[in-house]
């Protein structure tokens, strides 16, 4: 049964069926083969309860929030401001790349949007200041991945819905690892540029006056972050309500910057609903597939299989991490996550691990998947917005050191779970 399920799934995916359809078809096939009851009868109820799930409402809201911010020009002002503060470090603007990514991630739930937004602003600077282009490209692709680790994260919402874990706790758990990862990225850049003096480009000239004058440009993202994350932890808003407040705040900002036009809104609506409809359809199919898995006892079979391997908990986690790293080289991250989380998470919990902690480890693994060739969406994003149309290879090579940092970070969070779990425990 396990083998049938796995080979069918792989076959359907390789045949390039739409992921939602592949999961639905797999569910139907397994239900027909192994279930005495017609499970397809649950489809109506299940689709209704899934698509009215209050937590999922936060997804279009956060996407819309990002779509509106993207069009206000907030990010380029943010970038300039951060270059005054971080540009003196060895590696210059590459630190602004990481810093702006981290800050933008605090208003956006998407890694692709983060890499594209920061990249568009940053890339023209490569030639101006004479940086090592490869490392510069890498800092953009890798910095962008912070989008799904630092709250608000759309992937975390989906994880919370699929595994019934607390989204506020997940968001809290992502903050420290997010900051630490950004710090490690910057440390690596500084180290590389100290070792290779000509990689770091010319110094950015700045002074305290310019720094202080640039501060107001950091206010808009800080305000959005305060509204969204603050309202959750001050205890007066659910994540969905916080997302709604964030959208309203973004609308006010857009109006203040004179970017609130009908054409802007319509384009934002199209982008938002395209993403949302696609995600929700996959989630409906995933729910159906999970129901089938549970009904035919496949989830138990999977757990039994894992226990027959005779691995210890930490060995199992490493195997799972290895599985995600390999799969992540070839598979699109969102569908990879939705397809695997319902199967993998119960195994991890049965080993005695905290689901919140696993959520953070999973986000780091997904970040790695976003920048590992041959299929890494952030690599494509950065390549597609390069003004100098160099070879794709530059981006891949430049990102490799950052993949090393990501792997080290995954090891750190596995070895020291409190990096993720300390903040949720303190805030409780």
């Amino acid at each position: 049964m396990l083998a049938t399920a796995l080979t069918t799934l792989i076959l359907l995916i390789v045949l390039s069926l739409p992921v939602a359809a592949a999961m639905g078809v797999l569910g139907l096939i397994l239900g027909e083969l192994y279930s005495p009851m017609p499970l397809v009868r649950t489809l109506g109820d299940l689709a209704w309860s899934t698509s009215t799930n209050n937590l999922l409402v936060a997804i279009p809201m956060f996407v819309l929030l990002g779509e509106i911010l993207l069009r206000t020009g907030v990010s380029s002002r943010m970038y300039t401001a951060l270059s005054h503060w971080l540009g003196w470090l060895p590696g210059g603007l590459m630190h602004s790349n990481v810093g702006t990514s981290a800050l933008f991630a605090a208003t956006s739930g998407s890694s692709v949007a983060t890499a594209a937004t920061v990249g568009t602003v940053a890339l023209p600077e490569v030639q101006v200041h004479g940086y090592n282009e490869r490392l510069f490209l890498g800092s953009l692709a890798a910095g962008g991945t912070l989008g799904i680790l630092i709250p608000p994260s759309i992937n975390m919402i989906i994880f919370a819905v699929l595994t019934n874990t607390s989204l506020p706790s997940l968001y809290l758990a992502g903050i420290l690892p997010g900051l630490l990862l950004a710090g490690l990225f910057m440390a690596m850049i500084a180290g590389a540029c100290i070792l290779n003096a000509n990689w770091g480009g010319q110094r950015i000239s700045t002074n305290w006056r310019a720094r202080l004058q640039s501060l107001p440009h950091l206010l808009p993202p800080a305000a959005i972050f305060a509204v969204v994350v603050g309202s959750i932890y001050a205890g007066f808003a659910t994540p969905t309500e916080a997302a709604a407040l964030g959208v309203v705040a973004a609308l006010v900002l857009a109006a203040a910057f004179g970017a609130l036009k009908v054409s802007v809104l319509l384009a934002a609506f199209e982008g938002t609903m395209r993403t949302t409809a696609m995600i929700v359809l996959i989630i409906i199919a995933a729910y159906f597939l999970n129901l089938v898995f549970a009904a035919i006892g496949l989830a138990d079979a999977m757990e039994d299989f894992i226990s027959t391997l005779g691995l210890g908990p930490y060995e199992t986690i490493l195997v799972i991490a290895g599985f995600y790293i390999i799969l992540g080289c070839f598979m699109e991250t969102l569908s990879m996550m939705i397809a695997t989380v319902p199967i993998v998470t119960p195994i991890v919990i049965s080993l005695g691990f905290d689901p919140i902690w696993f959520g953070v480890v999973l986000m780091l693994l997904l970040e790695t998947a976003l920048v590992t060739p041959p299929i890494g969406l952030n690599l494509f994003v950065v390549q597609s917005i390069r003004p100098s149309r160099g070879p794709m290879n530059d981006v891949m090579v430049g990102t490799m050191p950052f993949v090393g940092v990501l792997l080290a970070m995954i090891g750190l969070v596995i070895a020291f779970p409190s990096i993720a779990l300390w903040l949720p425990a303190v805030m409780r």
């Binding site: 209704w48 993207l70 309500e241 407040l245 609903m273 395209r274 359809l281 070839f330």
Partner: protein, 206 residues
């Protein structure tokens, strides 16, 4: 759109109409989402500042999500936004690629037909039993469910029309036509969609 036999002209016109309807549905959904955000914000602020509880917005926003998703599935389809893993797809060309595209259309249509059918059965039973939501609002469920079902039915009809069109291409031996109807976007197109790269400062497209 295709210099094919004129027999497909009515079908092509229907598809073009469906496309425009889908785009319109996206705009309406987006507007509904903004209104929802405003109402939810008002509810939160009233609760926080004046201790006044309106209640019910969490339930209504769920209905907004369900209905808007069902009606915008077609737009996502037209924009080829439904994710497909293209590892094998990129390795093959011509006829084989058309087969994969046709297969993908058939599977999505099959899943959508089933979904629509069972959504219809759910709506039917909500009407028969006069079901209301299990909350203070006591919303008669047939109300949001019929809007939701309508969107799913629209998606299914859209897929049926596309399937007919693709079969027409198949009969005419037009494999490129099939990929045009049901193909996968190139990575570049996809990134452009997700990020709107040319937008900052001059967001005029759309």
């Amino acid at each position: 759109m295709v210099a094919g036999p004129g027999a497909f002209a009515p079908l092509d016109r229907t598809l073009a109409l469906a496309r425009r309807t889908g785009r319109g549905a996206t705009w309406v959904s987006g507007a509904a989402l903004i209104v929802t955000c405003l109402l939810v914000s008002v509810e939160v602020l009233l609760r926080k500042l004046f201790n006044v509880t309106l209640g019910g917005m969490d339930e209504i926003s769920g209905y907004v999500l369900a209905v808007s998703v069902s009606w915008t599935l077609s737009f996502a389809l037209a924009e080829q936004a439904h994710i497909r893993i293209d590892v094998l797809y990129n390795l093959v060309e011509g006829r084989l690629r058309a087969v994969l595209d046709l297969l993908s259309l058939v599977s999505l249509a099959g899943f959508s037909f089933l979904l629509t059918y069972w959504a219809g059965r759910l709506l039917e039973s909500s009407i028969d039993f006069g079901s209301t939501s299990n909350s203070a609002l006591q919303v008669p469920l047939w109300l949001p469910q019929s809007l939701w079902f309508g969107g799913l039915a629209f998606f299914s009809l859209n897929l049926a029309a596309l399937l007919l069109r693709a079969i027409g291409c198949l009969i005419a031996g037009d494999t490129a036509g099939i990929s045009r109807i049901a193909g996968i976007k190139s990575v570049e197109d996809e990134i452009e969609d997700q990020t709107d790269l040319h937008a900052p400062g001059s967001a005029t497209q759309g």
